[in-house]
């Protein structure tokens, strides 16, 4: 293995995480950039690439208010490579793109970022107007006319299949939210700091059966940054570099309703064909949980258990707790820490592998290997991250 041809995550940073924040989305992004640069010991002048998902979305500014080009201009970055867009295998696809770029020699240190401003934007409609559309087109035309307006509805139908076909129980699915909330209580930055009990979970109102209120993340304002560095430049950073040991990502039919399986299953299979590591080697998993059911599918998709066995695998919650054999979402996931939209999982995997988790650090000594995922509907990405 030639380490000079590897890609690493070096500095990671995060703004405050909140709801209806007054600080602008660009400045939240700058907060996260500065923290990441500081951790890596890099100056902004050493950054020569930027990658983001999904780029600035003018029709939905709260969903994505800042594009790569705006950040480049705002920070005076001299970029030799950059990219930003939504037509990639979900949020962490932006990291896959950056890793590919540094391995190809197109850049040395790439800022990857995801900034969300959904809560603030909703509360300030004059600044962040929602467009009025007379008619729907593209994918929306196949769901919106039937008032299947939310990803909760589309996801719930996959979850219901698990209920009917494999006997998934609410008490089993609850372990995602309960674990998230228990871990979020130990994360000073998390949006929700109070733990959740099984009784509270079971009493929660349904949003779209079988998904209840606590199975859903909620609108958040925050920015997360990951710096991806080339193997040839990694000696310039002062933090422990985390190697991207394998990556995979795909799309499973573009529409949400024609595929039998979510894209996580093909992505999980692909990941293990690109490494000699095996699931038993993994110390902690940070699984996308915009809806709790996605996190459950990732255990199956990545082969930690058989297909349909995810509910039994997490039953009782011991296995996925901080001191369990496979700690899950140690920062609180999106259900506990806030809807950081994909990037929070990689941020936390790096933090855990460096032993910097503080009160939420996993109890295993010397963790070496982690998985971070994003997506889980028709789009999915998985990163296998290693501390050498």
């Amino acid at each position: 293995m030639s380490l000079s041809n590897e890609a690493y995550i070096t500095g990671v940073g995060q703004s405050q995480i909140g709801v209806k924040l007054a600080r602008s989305p660009l400045l939240l992004t700058v907060d996260a950039v500065k923290e990441a640069l500081d951790e890596a010991g890099l100056s902004i002048g050493q950054i020569d690439g930027v990658s983001t998902y999904p780029g600035r979305v003018a029709q939905m500014l709260g969903f994505s208010p800042i594009g790569a080009d705006e950040l480049i201009d705002a920070l005076g970055i001299r970029a030799t490579w950059y990219a930003g867009g939504g037509e990639i295998s979900s949020q962490l696809g932006a990291v896959v793109a950056a890793a590919t770029a540094v391995r190809a020699g197109l850049a040395r240190h790439v800022i990857c970022f995801r900034t969300v401003y959904e809560a603030a934007a909703l509360s300030r409609p004059d600044e962040f107007p929602m467009p009025r559309r007379d008619r729907v087109d593209g994918f929306s035309q196949w769901t919106a006319p039937f008032n299947a307006l939310s990803a909760a509805n589309w996801t719930a139908q996959y979850a219901m299949r698990h209920v009917k076909k494999y006997g998934l129980k609410r008490e089993q699915l609850a372990q995602i939210a309960l674990t998230d909330r228990a871990h979020a209580a130990l994360n000073p930055r998390a949006l929700v700091r109070e733990p959740l009990s099984m009784d509270e979970y079971l009493a929660a109102r349904m949003i779209s059966s079988p998904l209840c209120l606590y199975d859903c993340d909620r609108f958040t304002d925050a920015s997360t940054v990951l710096i991806v560095s080339a193997g040839t430049a990694v000696n310039e950073v002062r933090c422990t570099p985390i190697r991207i040991a394998a990556m995979a990502g795909t799309v499973e039919r573009h529409s949400w309703d024609q595929a039998e399986w979510t894209a996580s299953y093909a992505t999980g299979r692909d990941l293990w064909t690109r490494t000699d590591y095996r699931p038993k080697d993994v110390d902690t998993v940070q699984f996308y949980d915009g809806f709790a059911f996605y996190a459950l599918t990732w255990f199956e998709a990545l082969g930690f258990c058989g297909i349909g066995e995810g509910g039994q695998f997490i039953e009782g919650g011991r296995r996925i707790a901080l001191d369990g054999e496979l700690p899950l979402n140690t920062f609180g996931g999106q259900i506990g820490a806030g809807r950081l939209h994909g990037f929070g999982f990689a941020h936390e995997a790096v933090t855990q592998l460096r032993g910097k988790g503080g009160a939420r650090q996993i109890k295993k000594a010397d963790p070496r290997l982690a998985i971070a995922t994003s997506g889980g509907g028709p789009l999915a990405t998985a990163l296998l991250l290693a501390r050498d």
Partner: protein, 134 residues
Amino acid sequence: MTAPRPLPRLDADNRPFWTGGEVGELRIMRCRDCGTFLHPPRPVCRHCLSENVGPEVVPGTGVVDTYTVNYQKWHPAMDVPFVIARVALDGAPGVYLTTNIVGCPAESVDVGDRVRVRFEQHEDVWLPLFEKIA
């Protein structure tokens, strides 16, 4: 008050699907060379890349493949609960429609239920809703 449903913008590819209900027909795009059904409708076959494709009338019956009962009012005028289902169509292998199961209590729908299309006109669009076959 019942909130108006968002309606599709009609174009050359989707018009046969969204307007077939005017004459009581559920139409799914099909490749005339290899026979593959294509949904969403596009002017090329996703199996053999032939452009010899066109709408074909299917029986309008099917099976509930999966479903959800929506309880959340996504806007204030929405009537809840209601059933959103994914229906596997008879006579069009591999094609699913997201739709509503209507004409029965929301709690009475289950995977495997046999259903039949019931068109509902909104302006120039005929939405294929489904009801259970008694």
